[in-house]
């Protein structure tokens, strides 16, 4: 398709183009604009659960991963108010889990950590909750550490075995919700699938066993450049 067949819209003054039906987050990325996202993975049904991708359209906030671009839409993204909200959201995620980054295998590859750096979180404004959460290490190849889980549902949506969900929500509400693994299915994951499960998790909540610090700290994905810069430095696509 040519530009003419695309929808034209704006993000913070910049004219952008999108395929009909494309979400704001995906379209922004194609236009070299980073909108932070945690629960979103291109190709999976959007969950709209982390809320970090909130943008403002016509004075109303909406999640850019769930909202499709509309012709002529004017999207506010990089504003002081939204960036403050995003920082708040990240802080809430940090204090409501137990994130001890220096001892985490995912440090440097972790999207939560990376977004926190990008929004310059120093010390959260909220008190730490230090919730008591467990680790499920029953399957042979993976473990699930609930202390680090941000309940983004990427594993729930993305990891299946024989067409069945391996991960699911359990419980509800502010104090009982958690991710559970189907132990039968999780135990049958192949090496490759186990690796995929670890990769789909934005944080260090799903880890592949017997594999640690293969890439040293300092040389990991977000150690060299902030999250989003790969999008911002990309050439605008046609």
């Amino acid at each position: 398709m040519k530009k003419a067949e695309k929808i034209t819209f704006k993000i913070d003054e910049k004219t952008c183009y999108a395929w009909p039906g494309q979400s704001i987050v995906d379209a922004a990325r194609d236009n070299g604009i980073y909108i932070p996202s945690l629960c979103h993975v291109e190709g999976l049904k959007p969950a709209g659960s982390c809320r970090i991708c909130n943008v403002t359209v016509n004075g109303r906030n909406m999640t850019a991963c769930t909202a499709p671009v509309g012709e002529g839409m004017v999207v506010e993204n990089d504003t002081p108010e939204l960036n403050e909200l995003r920082k708040t959201i990240v802080e809430v995620l940090f204090v409501s889990g137990n994130h001890f980054c220096p001892s985490c295998e995912k440090s440097g590859n972790c999207e939560l950590q990376a977004v926190a750096y990008r929004y310059q979180m120093m010390v959260p404004q909220f008190p730490y909750e230090f919730p008591v959460k467990g680790v499920d290490a029953r399957p042979d190849l993976i473990l699930h550490d609930r202390n680090r889980c941000i309940m983004c549902k990427r594993c729930v949506r993305g990891i299946e075995k024989d067409g069945k969900a391996v991960f699911s929500f359990e419980g509800r509400g502010g104090e009982h919700l958690q991710i559970s693994m189907d132990i039968d299915l999780a135990s049958q994951l192949s090496e490759e699938e186990a690796f995929e499960a670890m990769e789909i998790c934005p944080v260090g909540a799903i880890l592949k066993k017997e594999r640690g610090f293969a890439i040293p700290i300092g040389e990991r994905k977000f150690d060299k450049a902030p999250i989003g810069s790969e999008i911002e430095n990309s050439v605008e696509q046609d």
């Binding site: 999640t63 909200l85 559970s180």
Partner: protein, 601 residues
């Protein structure tokens, strides 16, 4: 067991969308969903066990362990608490020798907390195996326990504490309707079954939609969206298959008007649904009935049957060739958020009641991804009167922005709690006089998600353009501890009832509640009030659904209107209170190593 569970699954055609019904049946049979049943369901529906469990664990009335042959669910709403719940709890615990939220060792009786059950005008109240017991006292609890130990059935149990039960045979209940004021639109004596429907089918569907549009009837479930416009949007979706859904989830604490409509005027409601069905071209209507109202199920089914016999439901309704419409009732299983229309649809599809991301809206993609109109019970009833009497007549009531009348569920500290059909615009002062509410410190309007106002605002009126409400009005008298008895209770309610999807809804409300507790414990400073207020403002602009957007309203509106109550509690001259208790911090480790805490103070 295997066979009975198999039969249940067969009864619902191994349809994953009917998982709620399957689970309800099994929970009733076994007082829980046994692990074996989970395996069988997973196997038969071709999904994983955690997938089955994620639905089970979402709903308060589904459990993985037995809840007791007699499962007592005692309402824990704020109003239940000010009406003597503590005494009832004590009586249960003393008589049974177990703490709340557990089961007797013989498995006979379980006692559980539950969120508002829609009985605020007759608290303390409890559900026992789905039957409602109202106005409980410690004496009545003793009689009930004796009855349960003697193996009495529900009817006998009710008679133990209330000799004269209300209602028709299929609805023998202790629940009183307390209709204190009738109105022109609802509870008028003029209603004649089937009249409006016959009027409607003599006009085109578009004419019916236009009449409803002209009446300015706005949704009575809380959000106030114009009903006619919603129907019009649904028509514009041009679905082959479309649905009418009646939202009878009524979960907002303090609201109970839909319960009274369902009891007194079920035909009015079903007729309203049929009119909606005619207007948007639906063949199927579904009532999503909250589990707390299960005691009405048989009765409502019998009314549906009666209407079928009158040819007001079924095929070629009222002689109109090709107009087929029928209604089924879908039970919920205990989740406030399922009142949110998209969560309700998810629930009707047998899933966790997690609100959907919008767009698309239900009128485009609703139940089974088909265009769906979701309307509140009272909205659908009002439609009948709009069609009978005309839009102009309807508009002659109320204010310019809020036409017609509204049913209010009034409870709390007043002499005559119950149902009041009022014209929109009525002031709080007027309501206080009518209901006999004295020494009122505050009024909570619209339930916990609404607002809390003080006497300086009692001249304001109930209307969409002023004090909007889905129907709940709670009077709070001067002797109550507003922050502890109400604000804290409301925050705990939202924490429990959040679906948990959105990060800020799931976790920020816990942070807010803990900050509130810090203040209530006397460990707050002035900065805590300001932080509380600032943090409470976040949810509105980031969360997905109305629950997360309004969950901090109890804090926001009381800081706005009752800041002095917070200031009385905090240490105004301090800038920091550590609130750190060394003794309790080391208690656990001391116990492990078997030492006394050695704290030189």
């Amino acid at each position: 067991m295997k066979e009975t569970i198999q039969n249940v699954i067969e009864k619902y055609n191994r349809d994953r969308n009917r998982l709620m019904d399957i689970l309800i049946a099994i929970q009733n049979m076994h007082q829980h969903i046994p692990e074996d049943a989970v395996s069988i369901i997973a196997d038969q529906l071709g999904i994983s066990k955690v997938d089955v469990k994620q639905t089970i664990t979402f709903y308060h009335f589904f459990t993985l362990t037995p809840v007791g042959e007699y499962a007592v669910y005692l309402n824990d709403s704020a109003v239940a608490n000010i009406k003597g719940r503590a005494e009832v709890v004590q009586a249960f615990e003393d008589e049974l020798g177990i703490p709340f939220n557990s089961v007797t060792t013989d498995g006979l009786i379980g006692i559980w907390d539950t969120a508002d059950i829609g009985m605020n005008d007759q608290e303390p109240a409890a559900l026992i195996n789905g039957t409602v017991f109202t106005n409980l006292t410690s004496e009545k609890v003793k009689s009930l326990i004796t009855g349960m130990r003697a193996g009495k059935d529900m009817l006998e149990l009710m008679r133990v504490i209330d000799a004269e039960l209300d209602g028709p045979e299929l609805l023998s209940t202790m629940v009183k309707n307390n209709i204190r004021q009738k109105g022109a639109v609802l509870f008028s004596d003029a209603y004649e079954v089937g009249y409006a429907l016959r009027q409607a089918i003599n006009r085109t569907p578009v004419e019916v939609v236009d009449e409803v549009k002209r009446s300015n009837l706005r949704g009575r479930g809380g959000a106030g969206f114009p009903a006619g416009l919603k129907w019009d949007f649904c028509r514009q979706s041009r679905g082959e298959e479309v649905y009418v859904v009646c939202n009878a989830d009524e979960g907002e604490p303090g609201t109970f008007k839909d319960r009274v409509i369902l009891t007194e005027l079920p035909k009015l409601l079903f007729e309203g649904m049929a009119i909606a069905g005619y207007a948007i071209g639906a063949k199927q209507g579904i009532v999503y009935l909250r589990y707390e109202y299960r005691y009405m199920l048989e009765y409502l089914e019998s009314i549906l049957q009666e209407l079928r016999e009158l040819n007001l439901l079924g095929k070629n309704i009222a002689g109109k060739a090709g107009f087929d419409f029928d209604i089924r009732i879908q039970l919920g299983a205990g989740a406030y958020v399922c009142g949110e229309e998209t969560a309700l649809i998810e629930s009707m599809e047998g899933k966790r009641g997690e609100p959907r991301n919008r767009p698309p809206f239900p009128v485009q993609t609703g139940y089974l991804n088909k265009p769906t109109v979701v309307n509140n019970v009272e909205t659908l009833c009002s439609v009948v009167q709009v069609i009978t009497e005309g839009a102009e007549w309807f508009k002659s009531f109320g204010t310019s922005d809020s036409s017609g009348t509204k049913l209010l569920s009034i409870s709390g500290d007043c002499k005559n709690p119950g149902i009041y059909a009022v014209e929109w615009g009525v002031t709080i002062q007027k309501l206080m006089r009518r209901t006999g509410a004295n020494n009122v410190q505050a009024v909570q309007i619209g339930g916990p998600s609404g607002i809390c106002i003080g006497p300086d605002q009692f001249d304001r009126g109930i209307a969409f353009e002023d004090l909007a409400t889905g129907g709940s009005v709670i009077f709070i008298s001067e002797e109550r501890d507003l922050l502890k008895d109400f604000v804290l209770n409301f925050m705990n309610f939202f924490i429990e009832e959040s679906c948990g999807s959105c990060g800020p809804c799931r976790s920020l409300n816990v942070i807010l509640r803990n900050k509130l507790l810090k203040i209530l414990d006397g460990n707050g400073v002035e900065q805590d009030i300001d932080e509380l207020y600032k943090w409470a403002g976040v949810g509105r602009s980031v969360n997905r659904c109305g629950l997360g957007q309004t969950a901090a309203n109890p804090i926001l509106t009381t800081i706005e209107n009752f800041r002095h109550l917070y200031e009385d509690l905090v240490q105004m001259n301090e800038s920091f209170v550590s609130a750190f208790d060394m003794e309790s911090a080391v208690a656990e480790s001391c116990e492990v190593v078997g030492r006394e805490p050695n704290l030189s103070r």
